[in-house]
Amino acid sequence: MKKLLALVMAAMMLLSVTAVLAEDASIKIAVIGPFTGPAANYGLACQYGAQVAADEINAQGGMQIELICVDDEHDPEKSVNAYTYAMDKGAQMIAGTTTTSPCLAVSAQAYEDRVFMLTPSASSDLVVADKDNMYQICFQDPQMGIIPADMIAEKKLGTKIAIIYNISDDYSTGIYEAFKAEAEKVGLEIVSVTTFTEGDTDYKTQVDKAMTAGADLVFLPIYYTPASMILRAAKDINYAPVFFGVDGMDGILALENFDASLAEGVILLTPFSAFDTDETVVNFVEKYTAVSDGVVPNQFGADAYDAVGALYQACVNAGITGDTAAEDACELLIDQFSTMEYTGLTGTMQWDETGAVNKLPAAYVIQDGAYVPLDK
């Protein structure tokens, strides 16, 4: 009996030794997003962006990072599962989640568990509200509604405004509400508000209603995929107002086989332009297209790249290593993020006490299949 006990003890010790040996010092960051299902293109863009950042950091030598990429299918329940799976795998912090409603679910759990989260793209103001461990890289929805309304009023881009938004999407609805409120304040006239839902095929009716109402500017607080259909539907009925999109519009030119002439003159607000000739951007685009099978990065990829970069910088500053427990890393990262400044692809960022980012979007207009800064 004693022998057996000794044997077991020895085996356990051996196991624990190998466990320690196997523990490499790399920081484990979980990347959570929809890699399958209808929102897969957004999740995969984040995954690729994060991958590029991790590869770059690891190539520099020094402290290494390891990404744990987990699929959440754009579903809150699955997302919490993905989160717990990543934590079981030893994740110390989360660069995610990509989409808003999963992020709300995961962040509530992470708040309880004391795990630091930095989302590249979940843009609702609710995501960071009342959670000290939750930070954002992307703009918040209300901001994306207020800035365009002010800009349209100031630059007199349009007098009669139509809005088409996705009523089944919290991102789109959030921007719409903020835009509407701000438009009333600055005295813009909204002549038509129409909606669609995820998976709709027909967009002609909404465009038609905007045209019938005599709108000369159509505000599109939606993602680029439906936007491309709307642009097409407008061209089919020879309707040519000014189209004004927000950060979700970024990516429209990267749609495979998209007829860029449809997007001619579209104005959009985005923190990132793949057409920028800045060296870091060119470098990023090159590396990104290598992992993404040729798809040009949009703001999702750039934001995820910055999320990993910012996390890494904070880890280095705070002295977090692969051995730091997630709870300890969380407190250290909160200290870092509330004070630090990070310069990445999407600009120079600082974070306020709620966890919202403070950076500036740039307005671009699409000309000849490329982004041109609006003010030029």
Binding site: T36, T201, D208, K209, M229, I237, L255, E256, N257
Partner: protein, 293 residues
Amino acid sequence: MTAFLRFLINGVSLGSVYAIIALGYTMVYGIAKMLNFAHGDVIMVGAYISYCGMQYWGVPPVASILTAMVVCTVLGITIEGLAYRPLRQAASLAVLITAIGMSYLLQNVALMIWGANPKTFPQTFINGASLNVGDMSISSATIITILANVLIMVALTLFTAKTKMGKAMRCVSEDRGAAELMGINVNRTISVTFAIGSALAAIAGVLLCSSYPILQPTTGSMPGIKAFTAAVFGGIGSIPGAMLGGVLLGVIEIFGKAYISTELGDAIVFAVLIVVLLVKPSGLLGKPMREKV
């Protein structure tokens, strides 16, 4: 008035796309007595294949559509043979679940092969031009889709009425057991049904993406559900019913959005469907169910 006509045209245009998908549903349902939930995904595969033909392999549009039809036919027969045939004797719900599994499988294979980034379907002879009447314009895609619908409907009706295989299909649809006793090869008949249904799916995929040009792995699922609804609306199993149901559903959807509320678009469509089914419980053109004691 012109607005009304424009909405009507949009409705017919959307409805004719639903109709062509519904034809495939109704064919398979009528003969194999199963709801083939993977039909929408076969449509997606068809659209992808013809996209690849035109964009990557440099094949002219007509040839790529034909290629897509061939690929989908083979796919349809394979799916039927591997996944549905072993369950011929099982409860119909078991087959339904297998079809759902097949739908997941096709979507994920497509994601793997073609990636998640949406593709914009190219302009071809189908959607290249538009017909202008006054200040209205009718896209050529709409006209071609309607023509294709009528053509397919007539061809299918003639096929089932006149040919030997068509007669066998009707027999199998009436009474599978009796058909077998009369020497009809039920498995072969159902295989042929799937072959035809899948070839139609390829055409439907091309037409769907010609009118609404975004192609991604989930492209087929929502139109698939709508078309399934349309097939039931018109009376499932009835070929003219699928056509009528599809077109009406499209028109109702557009009118609901145009005149009532875009926010409640889907609710309006489904509410009309429910009312119609309560008045006519077997769909618009469906055969009333007989009850035998």
